[in-house]
Amino acid sequence: MTTKAKTFTIYVDGEAVQAVPGQTIMDACDEAGGYIPRLCDVEGLVPQGSCRICTVKVNGRTVAACTQPAEPDLQVEHETREIHSYRKDLVRMLFHEGNHLCPICEASGRCELQAMAYRLGISQATKYPYLQPVRPVDASHPDIALDNNRCILCGRCIRASRDVDGKNVFEYIGRGIDKHIGVNGANLAATDADIDDYAMSLDVCPVGCIIRKKEGFFNPVGDRQFDRHPIGWEIESKRIPTTDISGPAGSDQEVKP
C-alpha cells in the first residue's frame, strides 16, 4: 500500500484483524500473522480460488479467503471444527486424485501438499478411493521434467508463466476429472520454457510435478523446508517469533471446537 488507506477491522474467530480496502480476507490475515491454509495461492500471483482449502465462513456462508474481499466488521470463522474438517477432506481429495508416493518423491519434505497434510493432522488412510489415473511424464526438456502424476491443478505454473514470465508455457486442458495441464507445444521441449523462468522455480509448483533436472534431492532429510517448520510458519512467525516446530501448528493437534 503506497497511500495510507483507511483501515478497518475484521474479526477472525473473534480476534480483531486490521484490513485496508482492496485486501482479501487472506491478505489481511497474512499481514497480521494469521495463517489460513492454502495451496493454489502463493504470494506474487493473482489468487484464483480453486483448491478451496482456504475456505472460511463469513456471515454463515462458506467462501474462499483468497478471493473474498475484506469488508468492515466481517465475522470470519476460520479454525472451527467444521472448517477444519472441510480442509482435511479437500487435502485428502487431492492426494487421492493423483498418484502420490511421498517416500520416492523428489519434493518430499518441501512439498506443500504433504506439509499441509501434516499440518492438518492427516496421518491415516481415509475412506476415499484412490483414483489411480494414468498420467504422462514429460521429460523431453533438457533441464525440466513434468510428472503429471503429482499435479494438483493449482494453476500456479500457468499464472507464473503468463503473468511473470510473459510466456504462456502452460494452460488448462480438458474439463472435469480429465482436466490437466497442457504445454504450448507438442511437449515441453517444443515450448520456450527455460530453467530460469519463474514458473520453473521452486517457489511455483507446490508439489513434485515441475522438476528441475540434475538437482534432485538437494537437501538431506532433516534439512528440508518443512522438516524444520510447518507450512505457514513464515506467516505465523510474524506474530509468534519462534523456531519451535511444536508451535501452534504441530501435527495431529485437536482444534478448538
Binding site: Q48, G49, S50, C51, R52, I53, T55, T62, A64, T67, P69, S85, Y86, D89, L90, M93, L94, H96, E97, K127, Y128, P129, L131, L153, N168, F170, E171, Y172, I173, G174, R175, G176, I177, D178, K179, G182, V183, N184, G185, A186
Partner: protein, 611 residues
C-alpha cells in the same frame, strides 16, 4: 497443412475479424468444415487471432462439440438423458453400432459416420432423440433409426430426411424441424394470445428508472433457477458507473429434463427480443447477446432472421422507435457444456474462453462481459418483461403467490401420457400438474432436474413456487417400476461429465460420491457408506466454487432423505468382526493375477479343487 484446409481456417478467422473473443464461432466453423480441430489447425488459429496454441487447445478441449480427432461427415449424437434411457436409448445405440460396425464414441473408417452420446438435448417430451449434424430427430425407434442411417449413407443433408414437421413454427421454412412444442396448458402471461410490441412502446415512453420500478413492483424473479429479483439485478447494473453495459439472454437450457425455453425460442422469439430491448433501455445497454446452446442450433437461422426483421422495422439498431436509443443483439452459439448456463461461465464463453465460472465478487452486474456491467437473464424471465410493461405490475401480481408472482412454464416429461410444456400460475400444487399430465402412477418426481430434488408421494401436495417447491422448469415423473438408484447414478454421472474441473471438491468429490453410490447399487454397501455420502456431500456443497458444485450432491442427498427405504434395502449391516461389503476373494484378485497363483489361506475353494 493442405492449402484447402488452410483456406477454410483463414476464412473462418477472417469472418470473425480475427477476433479472439469470437473463438467459439471460429471453432464451430472449422469443426463443421474439417470435422476436427487438430493440432495444426489450433496453431494456425492461434497465430491468426493473436493467441497461442495451448490456449486454443484449452478451449477446444473444454467443449463437448469440438474435437481434435476427426468426426464423421455425418455426426450422430444420441441423447443420453435418463428419459431417453427409459425410452430405448440402448436399443438405438445397438442399432447404430450394428449398422455402422463401430462402437459408441467411434468414427467409421471411411470417415462417413461418427456415433456419440450427449446429455439432455431438451427433447425429453419426445424421447428418444438424436442430433444428426445438429438436426433434431425425435421419437426414434430402432427401425426408424435404421432407415435414417441407410439414407445417410448417400444423403449428406440431414434436413432432407425430416419428412414431417412439428407443430407451430417448427414448420417455418427457416426451421423445418420435426420437433414438437407440445404446449399442453396456456395462461395469460406467456403462451396465451399476446399483443405485439405494446410493452416496448410503453417502456420507451418511460424513463429507465421508471421501467425498473415497474419491474420491481411486479415482483418478477428470475426463472433460470435462482429466483433473484429481476428489478434489483437491473438496478445494480444501472447504478454501476460504466461506459458500456450488456444484456445477455441465457438460452443455454442445459438442465436435464428442461425444455420450456426451447418452446419460447420457437414461439415467442419476438417477445424475447422485445424483453431484451426493454432491459437495455432500463439499464442503459447498447449491446445484447443471446447465448444459444448448440443443441438448439436448428433454431439459429430462424432467430437470426427475426433479428433482421426487427432491425428493418426499427425495433433494433439505431434510434429504436425513433428515440435516441440504440441497441442490437448478436447470437452466440454454445458448444456443449452445461456449466455455461451458469451466468459467469456463460460470460467467459461469450468472451471466447473456456466456460469456467469467474470469481465473485465482482458480480456480473458490476463487472461482467469484458469487465462491463452485465445483466444475465433467463429466456422466460425476459419474456415476462414486455408483458409486465404492457399490462402493468398490478396485473402481473394478480397471478401467483405473494413471493412468486406471475406464471411458470413447466417442462413435464417421464412416465406420463401428456408430456410437454405447461404454463401454470405459481402456487399450483404439483398434484394438479401431474393429473393434467396424465401421470397417476408417479411414485417419484424430480423437480428442477439434476440439480433439483427428487421427491416422494407425500410431497406431491406441495405447491410450485419459490417459497415451497422451486423449479427452473423440470418436472420429471417416474413410475414405481423405475429404479431410483439408477436414476440417481445417472445424474451423478451427468455432474461428473459436466463439472468444469476448476475446483477440488466438485472435480474430485463427485467422482467419490459416484463410486460410493455404485458400491451401494451393487449390493456391497454398508450402513457407514450412507454417513460417508452425507459427509462428502456436505463438504462438496460447502466448499465448491459455483452453483454446479453447490447442487451436484442433491441427487444422492435428496433420494437418501426422501427414499430412505431404497437405500436401506441395499446396504447390509456388518456382523461382529465382519465387513458385509467386503469380499476377500475379489480383494485378492489383482494380487492373484500378478502372482499367478491363488492364496491358500483365504481360498478354501482352492483346496477342494473348486473355481
Amino acid at each position: 497443412m493442405q492449402p484447402a484446409n488452410e483456406k477454410i481456417i483463414r476464412k473462418a478467422c477472417l469472418r470473425a475479424n480475427n477476433d479472439k473473443a469470437r473463438m467459439l464461432d471460429i471453432l464451430h466453423e472449422v469443426q463443421d468444415q474439417l470435422q476436427c480441430i487438430d493440432s495444426e489447425a489450433m496453431e494456425l488459429i492461434a497465430e491468426l487471432i493473436g493467441s497461442y496454441r495451448v490456449e486454443v487447445e484449452g478451449v477446444v478441449t473444454f467443449y463437448a462439440f469440438f474435437s481434435q480427432e476427426p468426426k464423421g461427415a455425418i455426426t450422430i449424437r444420441l441423447c443420453d438423458d435418463i428419459i431417453d434411457r427409459h425410452e430405448g436409448f440402448k436399443d438405438l445405440v445397438e442399432t447404430a453400432e450394428e449398422f455402422l460396425g463401430i462402437q459408441l464414441g467411434q468414427t467409421t473408417e471411411d470417415g462417413r459416420f461418427s456415433l456419440d452420446s450427449t446429455p439432455c438435448i431438451g427433447m425429453c417430451d419426445q424421447a428418444p432423440a438424436a442430433l444428426i449434424n445438429y438436426q433434431v430427430f425425435t421419437r426414434l425407434t430402432p427401425s426408424k433409426f435404421r432407415t435414417l442411417l441407410r439414407k445417410l449413407r448417400t444423403e449428406s443433408d440431414a434436413t432432407k430426411l425430416v419428412t414431417r414437421y412439428g407443430d407451430g413454427n417448427n414448420s417455418h421454412h427457416l426451421i423445418r424441424s420435426m420437433v414438437n412444442n407440445y404446449i399442453r396448458q396456456t395462461d395469460k402471461v406467456l403462451l396465451g394470445k399476446i399483443p405485439k410490441e405494446a410493452g416496448l412502446e410503453n417502456a420507451l415512453s418511460l424513463a429507465p428508472a421508471a421501467v425498473r420500478a415497474i419491474l420491481r413492483d411486479a415482483g418478477l424473479r428470475g426463472r433460470g433457477g435462482a429466483g433473484f429479483p429481476t428489478g434489483k439485478k437491473w438496478e445494480f447494473a444501472a447504478q454501476t458507473a460504466a461506459t458500456r453495459r450488456y444484456i445477455i439472454c441465457n438460452a443455454d437450457e442445459g438442465e436435464p429434463g428442461t425444455f420450456k425455453d426451447r418452446v419460447l425460442l420457437t414461439e415467442r422469439a419476438h417477445l424475447l427480443f422485445e424483453g431484451m430491448t426493454i432491459a437495455a433501455h432500463a439499464v442503459g445497454a447498447e449491446h445484447g447477446i443471446l447465448y444459444l446452446r448448440a443443441e438448439y442450433r436448428y433454431l439459429h437461422r430462424y432467430l437470426e432472421d427475426i433479428l433482421k426483421r426487427r432491425r428493418k422495422r426499427g425495433l433494433l439498431g439505431s434510434n429504436i422507435l425513433g428515440k435516441d436509443f440504440h441497441f442490437d443483439i448478436r447470437i452466440q452459439l454454445g458448444a456443449g457444456a452445461y456449466i455455461c448456463g451458469e451466468e459467469s461461465s456463460l460470460i467467459s464463453s461469450c468472451e471466447g474462453r473456456r466456460g469456467e465460472p469467474k470469481n465473485r465478487p465482482p458480480f456480473p452486474v458490476q463487472a461482467g462481459y469484458f469487465g462491463f456491467p452485465t445483466v444475465v437473464n433467463n429466456v422466460e424471465t425476459l419474456c415476462c418483461v414486455p408483458r409486465i410493461l404492457a399490462e402493468g405490475s398490478r396485473w402481473f401480481c394478480g397471478f401467483g403467490t405473494q413471493q412468486s408472482t406471475g406464471t411458470k412454464l413447466l417442462s413435464v416429461c417421464g412416465d406420463c401420457t401428456q408430456p410437454g410444456t405447461y404454463e401454470v400460475e405459481f402456487g399450483t400444487p404439483l398434484v394438479d400438474v401431474l393429473q393434467n399430465a396424465g401421470s397417476k402412477q408417479a411414485s417419484a418426481v424430480n423437480i428442477g432436474g439434476a440439480s433439483g430434488q427428487m421427491i416422494n408421494r407425500d410431497e406431491f401436495k406441495r405447491r410450485i413456487c419459490f417459497e415451497d417447491l422451486p423449479t427452473a422448469g423440470a418436472v420429471i415423473t417416474f413410475a414405481s417400476h423405475r429404479n431410483i438408484l439408477d436414476i440417481t447414478s445417472y445424474y451423478m454421472d451427468f455432474f461428473i461429465e459436466e463439472s468444469c474441473g476448476y475446483c477440488t471438491p466438485c472435480r474430485v468429490g463427485n467422482v467419490f460420491m459416484q463410486q460410493a453410490l455404485d458400491k451401494i447399487r451393487n449390493g456391497l454397501g454398508e450402513p457407514s457408506d450412507l454417513d460417508y455420502l452425507k459427509e462428502l456431500g456436505k463438504t462438496i456443497i460447502a466448499t465448491s466454487r459455483c452453483g454446479l458444485g453447490h447442487t451436484s450432491p442433491n441427487p444422492v442427498l435428496s433420494t437418501m432423505a426422501n427414499f430412505p427405504l431404497v437405500y436401506a434395502a441395499m446396504v447390509k449391516a456388518n456382523g461382529v468382526g465382519l465387513q458385509a461389503g467386503f469380499n476377500i476373494q475379489d480383494a485378492l484378485d489383482e494380487a492373484r493375477i500378478i502372482a499367478k497363483r491363488r492364496s491358500l489361506i483365504y481360498d478354501p475353494a482352492y483346496e477342494t479343487g473348486g473355481k
